[in-house]
């Protein structure tokens, strides 16, 4: 018994020694390995850019990355698409750490959690890495952790546009419900804009149950979205329309509507490749989205401009991406433009792109 214990003790001491040795040997290095020092440009150095999505297994981000890679090719930078396989702040933080450790120059990231990744981003920023958020931003209070945020359209516009599409579909009269993921910063902002807009613009439309809260159903995946659809019909059998400001939700709603041959109208933010069958057969009249490729593309340009010192992300500043110019507004955000809508007329073309 004693002998076994001493072997064990020796092994454990060995483990800690090994750890300590390895650690001490490199404690001389700065708190984080130095990247190509911010500000100094070395001649003909290829920029290392990390493209980090909320999760790598999601089709939407595959498109986002495509756009980013296009920009990288044009700019002559090397871009690596890395990320977690679950949408959580904790998982994404591990990849932010990887970005720091591997000495990337630039980080383009879609925030999986608007708060949880902030400490990690601040560490990256302090290590000299240029950070641009794209598609999903960090919380407003943490704006200083990134140079600029590239978002599709004004949060308000995205919200109000969907209300407009809904009004078109239901003839501007009737009750409306919403299916959305819970605790998703973007969606929360859009829905907040939807509320007062519907009340003000469409007097004959109302939120199911009388208030925005009672009309909002939360669903974080296809199964929950389908169940939310059923719950809505169960609670509000006369509901006229359902808005889903998320590609997962609007797809599930369309599937359910078709399966149940329900009369309720469906609209929201939909990926053309996924929604094409439902638009073509009339289940859904119109959905909208922006081009995720653009989000990635513009973000890389903004980041490289910042790296080269020509762009600092201050309000009013502009930068070039491709043949367009973008302006930064309050909060350090640059918007791409209006959301794009997909109907029977143009779905055939867009379903092949993304």
């Amino acid at each position: 018994m004693k002998k076994r214990n001493s072997i064990l003790a020796a092994a454990v001491t060995g483990a800690f020694l090994a750890f300590g040795l390895v650690g001490c040997a490199t404690t001389d290095e700065a708190e984080a390995p130095a990247t190509s020092a911010a500000g100094t440009t070395e001649t003909a150095e290829v920029l290392k850019i990390a493209i980090v999505p909320k999760a790598i297994n999601i089709g939407y981000f595959t498109g986002w990355n495509e756009g980013a890679q296009e920009a990288c090719a044009e700019l002559g930078a090397t871009c690596d698409y890395i990320g977690p396989n679950e949408i959580t702040g904790a998982a994404q933080t591990e990849f932010i750490n990887q970005v720091i450790q591997q000495g990337y120059d630039i980080l383009v990231i879609s925030a999986a959690d608007q708060n949880a990744i902030v400490p990690a981003l601040e560490k990256a920023r302090d290590a000299g890495i240029i950070i641009v958020t794209s598609d999903a931003d960090v919380a407003a209070e943490a704006a200083s952790s990134r140079v600029v945020s590239i978002l599709p359209s004004e949060q308000d516009d995205i919200g109000t546009a969907q209300v407009d599409w809904m009004a078109e579909a239901i003839g501007s009269a009737g009750s409306v419900a919403i299916i959305t993921p819970a605790n998703a910063a973007n969606q929360t902002a859009w829905i907040e804009a939807m509320g007062p807009y519907l009340d003000a613009q469409y007097p004959n439309m109302e939120w199911a149950g009388g208030s925005l809260e009672s009309a909002t159903f939360y669903a974080n995946d296809p199964t929950e979205s389908a169940e939310a659809f059923s719950s809505i019909l169960a609670q509000y059998p006369d509901v006229a329309g359902i808005i889903s400001p998320t590609t997962v939700g609007v797809l599930a709603a369309a599937v359910e509507k078709k399966a149940k041959a329900a009369a309720v109208k469906v609209t929201g933010l939909g990926l053309p490749s996924e929604m094409a069958p439902y638009i073509e057969d009339g289940t859904v009249e119109k959905v909208g989205l922006w081009n995720p490729l653009d989000l990635g593309y513009v973000a890389v340009y903004a980041a490289v401009a910042a790296k080269n010192g020509t762009f600092a992300g201050a309000t009013g500043e502009t930068f070039q991406a491709g043949d367009k110019t973008y302006t930064v507004v309050d909060g350090g955000i640059a918007y791409l433009g209006e959301p794009f809508t997909f109907t029977k007329d143009n779905i055939a073309e867009f379903k092949l792109i993304y």
Partner: protein, 325 residues
């Protein structure tokens, strides 16, 4: 023995009682709940979990568990859509799904049965491995409706006497499995193994073989459940099936398939799944605030487990060793 006593010894009584209480109670408070469309929703929505619960029963009665079912069903639902869009026939893709599921099941069964490894560990490991492989193979793609075999699409959209075909499949599967579990020697051996593993070996039951067969069957059915999943959602992605295994185990336990092994039936498993689905719909119908729903769901499952345990220990004669879980 009087009919009443026979009835109270009926293992599935608690869960049936629970189902009746929840359904009637909710309907009483909100008569809309009694509508046909709600019933349809329940049967339609429960099909996947019910199929997986039937499969899981084989394993749980042996005092084992299979946590890899979520990963398997997600993978096969994706695979069916993917292969189908490449032109393979329905039969071919279903066979492929069955094969994939059976292979994973066989690996599980071999490691648990022949190497004697604990099933919680083995199936947790296969959960990770299958999910990892699935993610790589899936590459972020989504299976869209056009890629779903027409027949599955049809099954998902249509009904037989008002009940979704998907649930009809569940009932048929349940009947076949139920008969097998009651009538065949091989299946009855599973109960013996779960009641007393060492004794089972001593009385001549080929334990290792039975374990291998049971896990393979579970895997195969989980593979086929991918077809049900695809028919239900008309889409699939690498997020499919995530976290499903815990729900399936809960459905089994609530349905009287005891974690301690040796008891329970596929009928109970399916009823347990239906009960959980009914609770889900009931919460929505009762207008319980969104943010309270998960908490209420958890509480009700605890109550269901408690009720099942209470009734089963009261109604069965206790043996000297006590019913330890």
């Amino acid at each position: 023995m009087s009919i009443l006593r026979r009835a109270t010894r009926f293992r599935e009584l608690p869960v049936l009682l629970g189902l009746v209480v929840v359904y009637l109670g909710t309907g009483f408070l909100n008569p809309i709940f009694f509508s046909v469309s709600i019933l349809n929703d329940i049967f339609f929505g429960v099909a996947i979990v019910a199929t997986l619960a039937i499969a899981q029963t084989f394993v749980i009665v042996m005092r084992h568990i299979d946590l890899s079912v979520g990963s398997v069903v997600g993978l096969t639902s994706f695979l069916i859509g993917d292969l189908s869009s490449r032109g393979f026939s329905l039969l071919a893709v279903l066979f492929a799904a069955l094969l994939v599921g059976a292979t994973v099941g066989a690996v599980n069964g071999f490691l648990v049965g022949y190497l004697g490894l604990p099933s919680l560990v083995v199936t947790l490991a296969t959960l990770y491995i299958v999910r990892g492989i699935f993610n790589e193979v899936g590459k972020g793609q989504t299976i869209v409706e056009s890629m779903v075999p027409k027949e599955l699409n049809w099954l998902g959209l249509n009904r037989l006497f008002g009940i979704s075909y998907l649930f009809v499949i569940v009932v048929v599967l349940m009947l076949i499995a139920g008969v097998l579990m009651q009538r065949t020697r091989a299946a009855r051996d599973l109960y013996a193994i779960g009641s007393n593993p060492s004794a089972a070996g001593l009385v001549g039951i080929p334990v290792k073989l039975r374990v291998l067969a049971a896990f393979t069957a579970t895997g195969a059915i989980s593979g086929l459940a991918g077809a049900v999943m695809l028919a239900r959602f008309n889409s699939s992605s690498t997020q499919s099936g995530l976290g499903l295994e815990l729900l399936v185990v809960a459905a089994c336990v609530v349905g009287g398939v005891s974690i301690a092994g040796g008891t329970g039936s596929v009928f109970g498993a399916v009823t347990g799944a239906v009960l959980l689905q009914t609770i889900l719909m009931a919460i929505g119908a009762l207008g319980i605030p969104q943010f309270w729903q998960l908490a209420v769901n958890g509480s009700l499952i605890i109550a269901a487990i408690g009720l099942d345990r209470y009734l089963s220990t009261r109604l069965r004669s206790t043996n000297i060793m006590g019913a330890s879980s």
